[in-house]
Symmetry: C2
Subunit: 209 residues, 2 copies
DNA sequence: AGCATTGGATACCTTCACTATCTATGTTAG
DNA sequence: CTAACATAGATAGTGAAGGTATCCAATGCT
């Protein structure tokens, strides 16, 4: 497959593919001559993955590269793979501030009995959101958060169930990435629809025409 | 409060505040003279809200303006308010394509018995994600999606519970916005931690040092 | 009186994600 | 065989987004 075919099959313009090659998101094709290279199905698949991560999920090009690099560097352990994929989603230059919210998150994780790495970026993400909400006058205490966490637990069970039966570690890694990252907008969409439904149920007053 | 004080209290630079004023995200202060205006706590609160939406949630400035406008135009009905807040989060220029995924989403909503507006942006968002996942070889059928939807239902119940007891419609509207939009990163962070925990539980092989 | 601060306007800057153009080389149809 | 077209790789340009800097005249504070 030459670059123009790759472009036609993926719907991504040749110039954009070249851009991704430059940025290191896509492996170069197999060179057949000085001005000719051959691409295969792997490239097509990778290209679709890139478009999904940047388009649907809105990841930046550089974050996408980090995620794909982590995916390529997998060493066979699903746990580690997932951690890598998750970890790449946030650049933690600063070594996690010592805010009261961070302590609150730690306490929550403790109470849940979760085995979560100390430097997991999700900890900081949660702490940051809690801090924002508090400054806006909506402090979420552990009691409020706990039932959400229990639901997250069950969501994670569903997620992991879908990785069962995948023996190829590379395939498992990619599936994990897709389910973790790409399912997020889907879950949020479900939540919004459920909110609309629940709101309509509780306040059957006036419905919009 | 003058602009420099507003800046100091919020941690946002004076030039950026001026930028927000230009963009219509912030109401102008009460003019006390040709070159003097007075800002109050409402402005400070609004400014914090803007920073939360753009910073934590990553909304664009123009989307943020739309959301805040919707918030100001509330008419007293919580259901409508929520719909407005939710609806503003996605620009639906195109009138929802007729993809197979859109039909699948409609069937899912039907099966769930949810009362969700036909043109709810969340429908399109879900359909788009499903389409992406399918093109990547991970087709999620209704059977797989259903348990996720049931969990979303229970999450929504928790969300709506927190709006109970708020009598001031403006306050309820703002709370709804915060819980809908700002809680998203928190819920995703919980899910990621839960995934890590569940993965560790299932594959206790080698743990990272 | 005199100097810093303010509101308002305008111009400028940086990053991001592409997009266009150029050149030297290859491929291919007639 | 050659003219027309495609390709790889390099470099430069584009447009939107989100600020930032500068300037100015009017004002407030001391």
């Amino acid at each position: 497959m030459r670059i123009s075919e790759l472009s036609r099959h993926s719907g991504v313009s040749v110039t954009t593919i070249k851009y991704y090659l430059r940025e290191g998101l896509l492996q170069p094709g197999r060179q057949t001559a000085a001005t000719q290279a051959e691409y295969d199905d792997q490239h097509l698949r990778r290209l679709r993955l890139i478009r999904a991560l940047t388009g649907v999920r809105g990841l930046s090009v550089s974050t996408t590269r980090d995620v794909l690099d982590a995916l390529a560097e997998h060493t066979g352990d699903t746990h580690r793979l997932l951690g890598l994929a998750l970890g790449s989603l946030r650049v933690d230059d600063e070594p996690a501030e010592e805010t009261p919210e961070a302590a609150e998150v730690a306490a929550l994780v403790e109470e849940l009995g979760w085995d979560v790495h100390e430097s997991a970026p999700a900890r900081a993400a949660l702490a940051e959101t809690l801090s924002s909400l508090r400054s806006l006058g909506v402090p979420l205490d552990r009691r409020t958060l706990l039932p959400y966490a229990r639901l997250a637990e069950r969501t994670a069970t569903l997620d992991l169930d879908q990785l069962d039966g995948l023996t190829d570690p590379l395939e498992a890694a990619e599936r994990a990435l897709l389910l973790t990252v790409l399912l997020e907008p889907a879950l949020m969409a479900l939540r919004r629809m459920a909110q609309e439904n629940e709101s309509a149920r509780r306040h059957p007053s006036q419905d919009l025409p």
